[in-house]
C-alpha cells in the first residue's frame, strides 16, 4: 500500500504539534491541511491502500466523487478552524482538534467498514477534549454524556458490522439499505451521530459547552461525517424522508425560545441536517447532489455563524440573547460576517445556501413529495427567522446592552473572512461547486421562479418577525432552561418513579423497594463473594484447592461415563 489515507497524515501530523514552539507551531498547523490538500489532489481515483487483514480486504483509501467533495470541505474547514484558533496557546486543543479533523477525513475516505469504525470512534474520543477544554463543571458533565453517546454509536456500528460481515461475507462500505438486520443496526449508529430526532440531544447539550474555538470544529465534522455515511450507505431509503422532514421542523420551536445563542445555532444545525437527510432519502442523483452541496455550504456558513458567536463570547463573555445587544458598534466586522452567514443559512439569493438548498427542494417537489416540500418551506422560513434574523438582531442590534468591547482578534476575523468569501462566492458563482458534486449537474439556480419564491418566503418571514416584535408578542429572551426530549429520559423517568412512590401507596413502594433492594443485595453479594476477603477473592487453603481439583476430575469422569 503506497497511498496513505490523507486523514492519517493529519492525525500523525497532529502528533508533532505539542513539541513545536510558538510561531513555528502556528505555521506548521496552517501548512498541514494545505499540504494534505495538495497531496489529495495528486491521488488517483479508485480504491487504494488495500491490504489483507484476517480474511478480509481492508480498503483504507477509496477516492470517488462523493468522498472527494466531503474531503475537500473537511480540509477547508480544518484550515479555517486552525486560523480561528491560532490565538489559543493550549497545545492539547490544537492536537486533539487536528486529530479529530483527521479522523473525520479518514472516515470519509474509508473504503471498508472496519476503517470507518476506527475513524468513527476516533472522532468521538478526540473531539471530547474540545468540550472538556472549556474547563467548567457543566462542560465536563456534558462532555461525559457526549462521549458516552458517541462511543455507544461506535459500539452499535461495530455490532452492525459484525452482522453485516455475517450476512454478506464482506466489509466493503457501499450501499447498505435497511432490508437486512445489519442495515438497521448500522442505520441506528449513523442516526445517533447524525442527530436524528430523539437521538439529537447530545448535540444541543454538548456543542454550546465547548470552547470558543472547539465549537467551530465540532460543528463542521461529526454530523457531516454521518451525512456522508448516510449518503454512501442509505441513498434512496424512503424512511429517511420523514425522519429528515421532522428534523427540519421541530428544532425551530426550540430555536425560537432558546436564549443561549450558540444553542440556537446548535438547534438550527439540526434543522439543516434535516434538509440533507431528506435529500439522501429521496436518493435521486440530483437529490444526493443537493445533500452533498448543502453539506458543503452548510459547513461554511454554520462555522461562520459559530465563529461570530464565538468571537462575541470571547470578547463579552456571554452569548445569552438577554444580555447582549448593540454590539455592532464595537464589533462591526464580526457583525458584518455574522450577517453574511445569516443570509447564507437563510438561503438568500446570491448566498451559498440558496444554490444548494434549492437543489433539494426542487427534487422533493419533482419526486411528488408535496407535504415534505411544504414542511421544508416552513422550515426555511423558520431558519430565516431564528438564524437569519434572531442571531444577528439580538447580538448586534436590538436594545443596546451598553456593553463595549474590542473587535475580535485578527486571526478570528481572517477565518471569518475566508468563510464569508466562500459563502458569497458560491452563491454568486456556483459552477465550481456544481463541478465537484458526485453527479453531473444541469441545474440553474437563478431562475425567476426560484428567486421570487424564495424572496417572498423570506420577506413574509421578516414581516412576521417585525410585526411580532412591534406588538410585543415575540417570546422575550429570558434566562431560562428549555426542556427538550432528553427531559423524558433524564428527568421524567426519575420523576415518574418518585411520583408513583408517593401516589401508588404501599404496593408500589414495596415493589420498587424490593427492586432496589434486590439490586443492592446483588451488589452486596457480588462484593461479598468477590472482594479480596470474599469466597472467590480470598486465598483458599491448599486443601480446598486440591479438593476442587478432585471435584473437577470427578465431574469430568462422571460426565464422560454417563454421556
Amino acid at each position: 500500500m503506497n497511498e496513505i489515507n490523507p486523514g492519517l497524515l493529519i492525525i500523525l501530523g497532529a502528533l508533532l504539534v505539542p513539541v513545536l514552539p510558538g510561531l513555528l507551531r502556528s505555521a506548521y498547523m496552517l501548512a498541514l491541511p494545505v499540504a494534505v490538500f495538495l497531496y489529495l489532489l495528486g491521488l488517483p481515483m479508485g480504491e487504494l491502500g488495500q491490504f489483507e487483514m484476517f480474511d478480509m480486504t481492508l480498503t483504507t483509501l477509496r477516492i470517488d466523487k462523493l468522498s472527494l467533495i466531503f474531503g475537500y470541505i473537511f480540509l477547508l474547514a480544518t484550515f479555517i478552524g486552525v486560523i480561528y484558533a491560532l490565538h489559543v496557546g493550549d497545545w492539547l486543543q490544537h492536537t486533539t482538534g487536528l486529530m479529530y479533523a483527521g479522523a473525520a477525513i479518514g472516515a470519509v475516505f474509508a473504503g471498508d467498514l472496519i476503517t470507518l469504525f476506527v475513524c468513527w470512534e476516533l472522532t468521538a474520543i478526540a473531539s471530547v477534549f474540545l468540550i472538556w477544554a472549556a474547563g467548567t463543571k457543566s462542560a465536563h458533565d456534558a462532555g461525559m454524556r457526549y462521549l458516552i453517546i458517541q462511543v455507544a454509536s461506535g459500539v452499535i456500528l461495530l455490532a452492525g458490522i459484525v452482522f453485516f460481515y455475517r450476512e454478506t461475507g464482506g466489509i466493503a462500505f457501499n450501499a447498505i439499505g435497511i432490508d437486512t438486520l445489519a442495515g438497521k443496526i448500522i442505520l441506528v449508529a449513523f442516526g445517533i451521530k447524525c442527530a436524528f430526532p430523539f437521538m439529537h440531544n447530545w448535540l444541543q447539550d454538548a456543542y454550546p459547552e465547548a470552547t470558543v474555538t472547539g465549537t467551530v470544529m465540532l460543528s463542521a465534522f461529526t454530523t457531516k461525517l454521518a451525512v456522508y455515511a448516510l449518503a454512501r450507505g442509505y441513498a434512496g431509503t424512503d424512511l429517511l424522508i420523514p425522519i429528515g422532514t421532522v428534523m427540519t421542523a421541530f428544532p425551530i420551536f426550540y430555536a425560537v425560545i432558546e436564549n443561549d445563542l450558540r444553542r440556537v445555532l446548535a438547534y438550527s444545525l439540526n434543522n439543516q441536517l434535516g434538509f440533507m437527510v431528506v435529500g439522501i432519502g429521496i436518493g435521486t442523483e440530483m437529490a444526493v447532489n443537493g445533500a452533498a452541496a448543502h453539506a458543503f455550504c452548510h459547513i461554511l456558513y454554520k462555522a461562520l455563524l459559530f465563529m461570530s458567536m464565538g468571537a462575541v463570547l470571547y470578547r463579552v463573555g456571554t452569548v445569552k440573547g438577554s444580555e447582549l445587544g448593540g454590539l455592532y458598534r464595537s464589533m462591526p466586522w464580526t457583525a458584518g460576517f455574522c450577517m453574511v452567514g445569516a443570509a447564507s443559512i437563510s438561503a438568500f439569493p446570491l448566498f451559498s445556501g440558496f444554490v444548494s438548498k434549492s437543489l433539494i427542494m426542487t427534487e422533493a417537489l419533482k419526486g411528488g413529495y408535496f407535504y415534505v416540500w411544504l414542511t421544508l418551506l416552513f422550515a426555511s422560513a423558520g431558519v430565516f427567522h431564528h438564524s437569519g434574523i434572531k442571531i444577528p438582531y439580538f447580538a448586534f442590534f436590538a436594545h443596546d446592552s451598553g456593553k463595549r468591547c474590542k473587535e475580535a482578534p485578527m486571526n478570528m476575523l481572517i477565518a471569518m473572512g475566508i468563510a464569508a468569501f466562500f459563502c458569497i462566492g458560491i452563491g454568486v458563482y456556483p459552477a465550481p461547486l456544481y463541478a465537484i458534486l458526485p453527479y453531473s449537474v444541469d441545474y440553474v439556480p437563478y431562475t425567476v421562479e426560484h428567486v421570487v419564491t424564495q424572496l417572498q418566503l423570506l420577506m413574509f418571514s421578516a414581516l412576521a418577525f417585525a410585526v411580532l416584535m412591534r406588538t410585543g408578542i415575540y417570546p422575550p429572551e429570558l434566562r431560562s432552561t428549555n426542556l427538550d426530549t432528553d427531559w423524558f429520559y433524564r428527568k421524567l423517568g426519575y420523576n415518574v418513579g418518585s411520583t408513583l412512590l408517593l401516589l401508588g401507596g404501599d404496593a408500589v413502594k414495596f415493589v420498587a423497594a424490593q427492586g432496589g433492594n434486590a439490586f443492592r443485595v446483588f451488589e452486596r453479594r457480588l462484593h461479598f463473594h468477590h472482594n479480596p476477603d470474599g469466597l472467590f477473592g480470598r486465598t483458599w487453603p491448599t486443601g480446598l484447592m486440591a479438593f476442587w481439583a478432585t471435584v473437577m476430575l470427578g465431574g469430568y469422569l462422571l460426565v464422560f461415563y454417563f454421556r
Binding site: E52, T539, T542, A546, W548, A549, M552, L553, L557, Y561
Partner: protein, 525 residues
Amino acid sequence: MSVGLLTSVALAAGAAQAAGGHAVAAKPFILTEHLPILIVVIPLLAAALTAMLRNGRVAWAISLAVSWILPILAVMLILQVEEKGIISYALGGWAPPVGIEYRVDIVNAFVLLIVSVVGAIAMPYALRTVELDIDEPQRAWFYAIYLLALTGLLGMTITGDAFNIFVFMEVSSLAMYVMIAMGRDRRALIAAYQYLIMGTIGATFYVIGVGFLYVVTGSLNMADIALRIGPAFAESSPPVMAALAFIVVGISLKLALFPLHVWLPNAYAFAPKFATVFLAATATKVAVYILLRFYFSIFGSAISLTDLPITEMLLILSIAAMFIASVMAIYEDNIERMLAFSSVAQIGYITLGIALANKSGVAGSVVHLMNHAAMKAALFAAIGAILYRVGTARMSELGGIGRTMPLTMAAFVIGGLSIIGVPGTAGFISKWYLGVGAIEHGWWVVAFLIVASSLISIIYIGRFVEVAYFQPVSEASEKGSDPPFSMMLSIVVFTALTIYLGLDTAWSGQLAEKVAAVLVGGLAQ
C-alpha cells in the same frame, strides 16, 4: 522432584551424546540441522554455568546472551518449518517412536517464538529488579533457576514425546516454585508452596492420563499415539476417556482455568518482579499449548469431540472465568493481584476459542497467546516499576502516580486498553477473531458475552487510571519517578509490541491462522 532433576541431567547427557554421536559418524556438524536440540540445550548448559560462576552480574550477562540467542533460533525454526514442513529430530540416535523425538511443526514453533521473545525482552528488566529483590549470594542461583525454567518451558513445547513433556513440566515447575519463593514478601513462601502442591497434583493427573494412553496404545510418542488412539478407542472407550479427563484437568490446573486458578494470584503478586513478568507471559501459555496438542491433535483426531460434553464444560468454565475473575479484579486493591485475576479472565478467552473448535475461534486463542503475553508483560512490568520506585502496589496508596511516573503509567494505559480490546491494540485482534469464531459457530450469546466481559475490564483498568491521573499525588507517589533505562527498555518494547501486534496483523494473524488450520484440520468429523 528428584525424578525430574535426574531426568533433566540424563537428558543433558543424551543431548551431548546426540551431538557427539554425529561427530563420531564423521558427518559434518551442520548447525541448522540441530536447532531443535540447541534451543533446549543452550539454556540448560547456561544454567549450569551461571550456577557455577556465582556472580550476579556475570550470571545476568550470560542469561541475557542466551535469552537473545533463543529467539533467533526460534525464528530459524519457523522458517525451516515453513520451508520443509514438520521437522523430526531423533534424540540420541534412537528413531521415533521408540526414542524421544523432538517434533517441530508450525504450532509449537509459534509457541517457542512467544516464550523465547518474552524472555529476550524481559531480560534487561531483570538487571535492576533482581538486584533489589534478591540478595547478592543468591542472584546467580536465581538466574540459573530462571534459565532452568526457560529450558523446561521450551522443552515442553518442542518435544514430541508425551512423557518427556511431563519431565520438562517438572523441570519448569520446580524452577518456578523456587523463583516465586525467592520473593521479598514473606507471603511468597506460602504462595510458592500452594503452587507447588497444585502444580504437582496437575502434573500427577497429567502423567496418570499419559499412563492410560500408554496402556491402550503402547506408545508415548504423540504422533504415534494420535495414529493408534482411534482403533484403541473403538475397541474400548473408557480408558481413553479417563485419559482425556485426567489430562484436561491436570493441564487446567497448570493453565489456571477457573476454578482451578486459585494458586495463581498470590504466586504472581508475591514473586520477584522479574519472575512475575516472565511467568505471567509464558507459563500458562505453554500449558495452553499442551492442551491444544492433546485436545486437537491427539484426542480430536480420533474422537468426535462434539459427542462428548467436554466442549460445553470448557465453554461454561471459560465464560465463568471471563466474568467471575473480572469481577474479582474490580474489587481488588493490590494491582498485581488485580492483573493476576485479569490473567485468569484472559485465559478464559483462550479456552473459549478452544471450545469453539473452528478456525477463527482457535486462531483467536492462538493469537491471544502472543497478544496476551505482550500486553500482560507490559502491564506487570509497569507495575513492577512502580513497586521498584514506590514500594507499594496498593491502589489506595498510589494516587497521582501518573504525574510522578508518566512513562510507566502511559505504558500501563496502553496495556490496559489492550486488555479491554480497544481497536489499534493487540487485544482487539484476539477478540475480533473470537467474536467471528463464536458467530460462525452460531453462538450469538457467546459473541455478546465476549463484548460484555470486555466492559467489565474497562471498570478495573479505569479504576486505576482514575486513581493515577485524577487523584492528588499521595505521599507514596511522591517518591515515584520513571525507572532506570534498563527497566524502561523492557516496558517500552513490550508496550510497542502490544501496539504493533494490534496494527500490523499481517504475519501474526496469518501465522495464527496457519496454526489454527493445522489444529482444526486434524479434527475428526
